[in-house]
């Protein structure tokens, strides 16, 4: 097991490195001179050269690459073109905001999806089950921005139960700070995007769990569990459901990537100041260091999640060989 974890860590490091490299060169290849957004190209060449020198843009590309690596290691994401302040300062709270939205809703989606899907298969054939399958299938193919807007329309505008967006009531915290997470106001703002995100992420594990369970129920070991005189609950949770978790764990990395992408949309719809929204803002303002930083962290989150999912799978299935 120790070696397995080490190998996975190595894999992760390689993926990480490849991703950073790819991103660095990708961003350099973007058309246009980044300094152009700060200094008008019409200004004199000297000022532009000075600017380029300040950001290190006059060095050879390969040297820029190593400088970039070195600064990343120090969590130095460079300076924002727009505010000239360190990108990390901007990103720090945004990262927390994104995590607070994604993590609880992923966990809720998987827990509800696994248990709900298992029960749907266990009590299959009922009318309630049929309509649930239909609803989940429909929900799964609905675009997430549409879902978000629908939720805002119904729960914020018509019913006025929840605010339409933002993380706290605007103006309550002139400077974003850690204290805002401790308020009811925060939870009130979190509720709707959390609900939409959970609902959106719920369908896949729910339907997958249901179909896996349907075949697991017919397995010989489930029948044997029953023959041993185990109570139905034990057969359901200890055998049928326990074994049906495996495909859920294998698909987790894929869903994680998908859900992170979905959260960019949700953050935009709900003006939730997370990494996704930061990235969108950065793009509209051509603030490349910010975009790159946000992009990088989103990728890191996905890679980390994949790593955790891999370990989880190793724990769930003793048959996989730890090499």
């Amino acid at each position: 097991m120790g070696r397995f974890v080490l190998r996975r860590l190595l894999h992760m490091a390689i993926t990480f490195f490849a991703m950073i490299t790819l991103m660095f060169f990708l961003f350099r290849m973007l058309p246009g001179d980044p300094t152009a957004t700060v200094i008008s190209p019409a200004l004199d060449a000297d000022a532009r050269a000075a600017m380029q020198a300040r950001f290190g843009l006059d060095r050879p590309l390969i040297e820029q690459y190593f400088v970039y690596l070195a600064s990343l290691a120090r969590l130095d994401f460079g300076l924002s073109f727009r505010t000239s302040r360190p990108v990390w300062e901007l990103i720090e709270l945004r990262l927390v905001n994104t995590l607070l939205l994604i993590l609880p809703s992923m966990i809720a989606a998987y827990v509800i999806g696994a248990i709900g899907g298992a029960l749907m298969a266990w009590y299959r054939g009922g009318r309630a089950e049929g309509s649930l399958v239909l609803a989940a299938t429909a929900l799964q193919s609905a675009p997430v921005f549409w879902l978000g807007m629908l939720a805002i329309l119904v729960f914020s505008i018509w019913l006025d139960w929840f605010p339409t967006g933002h993380i706290v009531t605007p103006g309550r915290f002139p400077e974003p700070s850690w204290r805002m997470y401790l308020t009811l106001d925060f939870l009130h703002h979190l509720a709707l995007p959390f609900l939409v995100n959970t609902l959106y992420n719920l369908c896949f594990p729910l339907l997958l769990m249901r179909s896996t369970m349907l075949s697991t129920i017919g397995e010989d070991y489930v029948e044997l569990a029953r023959m041993k005189g185990l109570r139905e609950r034990q057969v359901l949770y200890g055998h049928a459901m326990r074994n049906s978790l495996l495909p859920l764990a294998t698909t987790l990395p894929m869903i994680l990537g998908w859900s992170v992408a979905g959260s960019v949309v949700i953050e935009t719809v709900f003006s939730w100041p997370g990494l996704g929204l930061l990235m969108i803002e950065g793009i509209t303002r051509s603030d490349y260091p910010v975009v790159q930083g946000a992009f990088l962290l989103i990728a890191v989150l996905t890679i980390l999640g994949t790593f955790v999912a891999d370990l989880l799978y190793g724990l769930l299935d003793p048959r996989i060989v730890y090499r």
Binding site: D220, Y221, R226, K228, G229, L230, R231, R242, D317, P318
Partner: protein, 350 residues
């Protein structure tokens, strides 16, 4: 006769299918005495597994016990309610399932799988549980150091032994074995049977062995039950059922047995088992029986041929005369003499 531990009394079981109800068990009566070994034989699809699963009370959702009783130590499990039946499973009647390869849960240690069977019935402390599992492994001849292994770490033969160990965990008075060795090679198969027989003599449980291998039953069982198309067609002590068969189907099964060096070629029974949704009105074997007569379109009675020997055939009292004929391959190739008047009920052209 010894007192019965298990009594199946006129059991009828049906499977709901799209085509209608399949009469998978009809009028099945069988009693098993303490410590006795009974073999159930019959072609694939004759209802052997269905019968054992019904006794365990673990049937597919589309199965219904229509009438009849399954008495364990005098209590009818069918009417006693699910909780009584649940308690009787494993502690009273344990089972070695048909496929050893898939019967163990792949993601759980075998010790945990045996322990949970025990704990479903008895509240034992951990060290007593583990001591019992070690003892069971020794009993079936698997290294006790491996109790905490996962199923995939064992060979097929060892998994089968683990399943036997699991079945004996609570010292059940009745052990059901559904083709316990079909997936294994002949040598391992023999080893396991010898071990099972030795354990039965040592522990004194009654065994109901299901197989389509008549030879295995002749070697291992005191009594034989022959099933055909969901019914018991003949039952009795091994010597009588084989030596003085009262049913053409039993004779046919015996002919089909390969015998080394005897100079006799095995003879198979042409045709296929009856359709259970619309079975033939009379004898279910009529469509394939070389001795069928017009009266065979009415249901034959269960004739008593000896103290404990019964056969369900109109002509069972004539068997002594028919037996020499039944040994000939031509007799069987000829098939049913009056195929047009006898509706086999089987689906043609599949």
């Amino acid at each position: 006769m010894r007192t019965p531990v298990l009594e199946i009394d006129r059991l009828d079981l049906g499977y709901a299918t799209r085509a209608g109800t399949a009469a998978a068990l009809r009028d099945v009566s069988l009693s098993v005495a303490a410590g006795e070994s009974v073999g159930i034989v019959g072609e694939s699809g004759c209802g052997k597994s269905t019968l054992l699963k019904a006794v365990m009370g673990v049937m597919p959702p589309n199965a219904t016990i229509e009438t009849g009783a399954i008495r364990f130590m005098g209590t009818d499990l069918v009417t006693a309610g699910p909780e009584v039946w649940r308690r009787a499973r494993w502690s009273g009647i344990a089972m070695i399932a048909q496929s050893a390869l898939n019967a163990l849960n792949p993601v759980k240690r075998v010790s945990a799988q045996i322990a949970e069977a025990i704990r479903a019935h008895e509240d034992w402390p951990r060290d007593k549980l583990r001591a019992r599992i070690v003892e069971l492994f020794e009993m079936v001849g698997v290294d006790p150091a491996r109790i905490d292994d996962f199923p995939h770490q064992f060979s097929g033969g060892m998994r089968q032994r683990v399943l036997i160990a699991m079945a004996l965990a609570l010292r059940p008075p009745v052990l059901l074995a559904d083709e316990p060795t079909t997936a294994l090679d002949v040598i391992v198969q023999n080893q396991i049977f010898r071990r099972l027989d030795a354990l039965r003599k040592e522990l004194g449980f009654a065994m109901l062995l299901v197989t389509h291998d008549l030879g295995l039953v002749i070697e291992n069982c005191e009594r034989i039950v022959v099933m055909y198309g969901g019914m018991i067609v003949e039952a009795g002590p091994t010597a009588q059922v084989i030596g003085a068969s009262g049913h053409p189907y039993t004779l046919g099964l015996y002919n089909a047995l390969p015998r080394l060096g005897a100079g006799v070629e095995p003879i198979s029974i042409p045709g296929r088992p009856p359709d259970l949704v619309a079975p033939p009105p009379g004898c279910r074997f009529a469509g394939r029986c070389p001795f069928a007569q017009p009266r065979c379109t009415t249901a034959p009675p269960l004739n008593r041929l000896g103290a404990d020997h019964v056969a369900r055939c109109h002509r069972s009292d004539e068997m002594a005369v028919l037996r020499p004929d039944a040994r000939l391959a031509e007799t069987w190739e000829r098939g049913a003499p009056v195929p047009d008047t006898i509706d086999t009920g089987s689906i043609e052209g599949i």
